[in-house]
Amino acid sequence: MANVRIDRLHKEFRSHGGVVHALKELTLDIADGEFISLVGPSGCGKSTALRIIAGLETPTSGRILFGPRDITKLEPRDRNIAMVFQSYALYPHMSVRQNLEYGLRKRGVAREERDRKVATIGAMLQIESMFERKPRQLSGGQRQRVALGRALIRDPEVFLLDEPLSNLDAKLRVHMRAELAALHQKVQTTMVYVTHDQLEAMTLSDRIVVMNHGVMQQVGRPDEIYSRPANRFVAEFIGTPSMNMIEGELRIESGKPIFTGPGMAIALPQASLHMPAAKQATLGVRPEDIALVAPDTPGAIAARVTVSELTGAERYHFVTVGGGSVIIRTPASTVLHPGENVALGLHPDRLHLFGGAGEDAAALR
C-alpha cells in the first residue's frame, strides 16, 4: 500500500519529422487506497501516463514516487505494481491456475504458498471451477476475472487498469463495474484506472482526472467534475447528453451581468462579474437544468420542439432557440410534440459561463 506522487511527468514521442508531446508536465498526488480514474478522448495521454507508472514506457522527464520510494527508473517487475490490460493479456497456453500463479512463480514463491494464494483469489473472484481451463475456453467476463485475479494475487502496492471493461458487452460491463467497485472496497489498494468511458469514471472513482492533448484539464471528485467543470472541454466531455453550449455576449446593464444569445437575454448572478471581461462568451447549461415554464414567466425563452426521444425513464427533447439547437432532459412523462412551441427557464444557480474562445474559460458560480 502506498500513496503515489507523479511529479512533472513529461513524455515526448519522436516520429518521422516531428515530436509528439503525449504527456505534458503531469503532476498528481494519489492517496493511499484511492481509486482514481484518468479519463479523456483517444490520444489524450491517459494510457501513456498509466504505462509510465507501470514502467512500460520511460518518461522524457519527471519522477514517480511510491511513498518515499522513487521508482522512475525501476523495471516493471521491481515496482510492485499489477496491471489489467484491455485485452486481458492472459497467457493463452497456460491454464487459469498457471496464469494466476505465473507472477508468484517468477518471484520464487514456494508451492504451498502459491496454492494457498490461488485458492484465496479463486474464492474471492469465484473462478475456482475453471482453474484447469485455458483462457480460450472462458467467456469474456470470466477472462476478465482471471485477469483481475492475476493482478490481485501479488498484493501489489498499486493496481493499474487500462480500459479493463471495454471488451465486454454492455450488460456485462455494468455488472463488472459493480464488482470492481466492490473489489476495491474489499482490498483497499490504490487503483489507477484508465478509461474513455465517463460513466465508468463517474461511478467508480474517488477522484477523476480529465485529460486532453496530454494536459490535465481538471482533477476532482466526480460531483465536482460534473457540477463545476473547470473549462469548456471538461464541461462538454463529462455528461450525456453533452452540456448545451450557447454562444453569445456578456454585458453589464445597470450594474448587473446579462448574457445575450440567440433568442435570449439572461440575467446572471452577481458572481459572474468576477469573470474576465470577455465580451464574447459561451453559456453552458446541462440538459436537466432547463425547465419547461409557463409562457408568461418573466425571462422565459421561446423555443420550438423539433424531435423528442424516449430513452426509457427519460426523454430528450431537441428544441430550437433563436436558430440554435438545445437539448432538454425531462422525465418520460413530459410529452412534447414536434412543432410545439414551448417556453424554457434556466436554473440560475446551475449555469456555466465560459470565455468566448472556450479555452481560457472558467465556470460561473
Binding site: 499489477a82 485485452s87 497467457y91
Partner: protein, 299 residues
Amino acid sequence: MAVRSGGPLAWLRDQHLGVILLLPSALTFLVLLVFPLSYGIYTSFLQRHVLDPEGVWVGLANYVWLFGNAEFWQSLAISTLWAGATVGLQIVLGTAVALILHQPFKGRSLVRGLVLFPYMMPVVSVILIWMLLYNALYGVLNYLLVQTGLIAAPIAWLSQPGSAFWSVVFVGVWKYFPFVVVIVLARLQVIPQDLYEAARIDGAGAIARFVDITLHQIKDVLLVVALLRTIYMFNNFEIAFLLTGGGPLRATMTLPILVYEQAFGLYEMGRGSAIAVVMFLILIGVMSVYFAFLRKESD
C-alpha cells in the same frame, strides 16, 4: 436459384449443378494426381526395362528385392538423417534469424529482403556457386580457413564421405532456411505485445519471456513448417545429386537418387517405382503421426 424455375436450364437441379461445378477440379485431381500415382504403384509390380516397355508382371518381387538390399537400407538411413538434419538446422537457424529480423534496427527492411536471396536463386546456380566455394584446390572456403589458421591444409569437402554429407546438408540448410524465416517472422509480428508487457510486470526476464511467450506462440507454425520441410527435404533430389551425384562411396545417396539410379541408370523402372512407393508410404506415415499429434494438441 434462378435455374430452378422455367427457362432452358429448368432441368438442371441443384445436385446436378454441384456435380458440374466440381467436375473441373475432380478431373484435374484424377489426371494429375490419381493417374500418375496409380501408374507408379502399378509399375512397381512390373519388371520393366527401357527395351521392354510393356513389362512383365512380377508381383512383389521388386519389394522383396528391395527389402533384402543393403543399399536400400543404407539410403533410407541417409535420407532420414539428411531430412532430419536439414529440417532441424533450418528451423533453428530460420527461427534465430527471424528473431533478429524482428528487432528494430537501421536497414532492417533491406536485410529482410537479402535474407530471401538463397531461397530465390535457381538451384543450379546455387550448386555451381557452392561447388566453387567447396573446391579443394581453389575454393574460397579452404582459402579463408587456411588464411585464418583454422585448418592447416585444404580439405576436399565433397570427396570424403563424412565431410561430403555435412557439406551437402549445409547447402540444403542454407538454401531453404529463408522459408522458415518468412513464416516465423510473420507469426512473430502478430504476437500481441501486451503478453510481453504482462510478463514483464509479472517479473519474467528476457529468457523467460522467450520460453513462456514467444516459443509457445510460434510453436504451431514451427510444427507446420517442420512437416512441410520434412516432406520437401525427404523428397529433395537435386542438391545432393548436383553436388556429389550420391557419392563419395554412396555417402550422400538419398532415396530419390537411388530411384534415379535404378530407373534411369540401370533402366529398372519397376525397382525404381518400388522405392518411390516406399518413400510415399513413409511420408504418409510421417503425416499421420503429425496429424494425430495435432489432434491431441488441439483438445
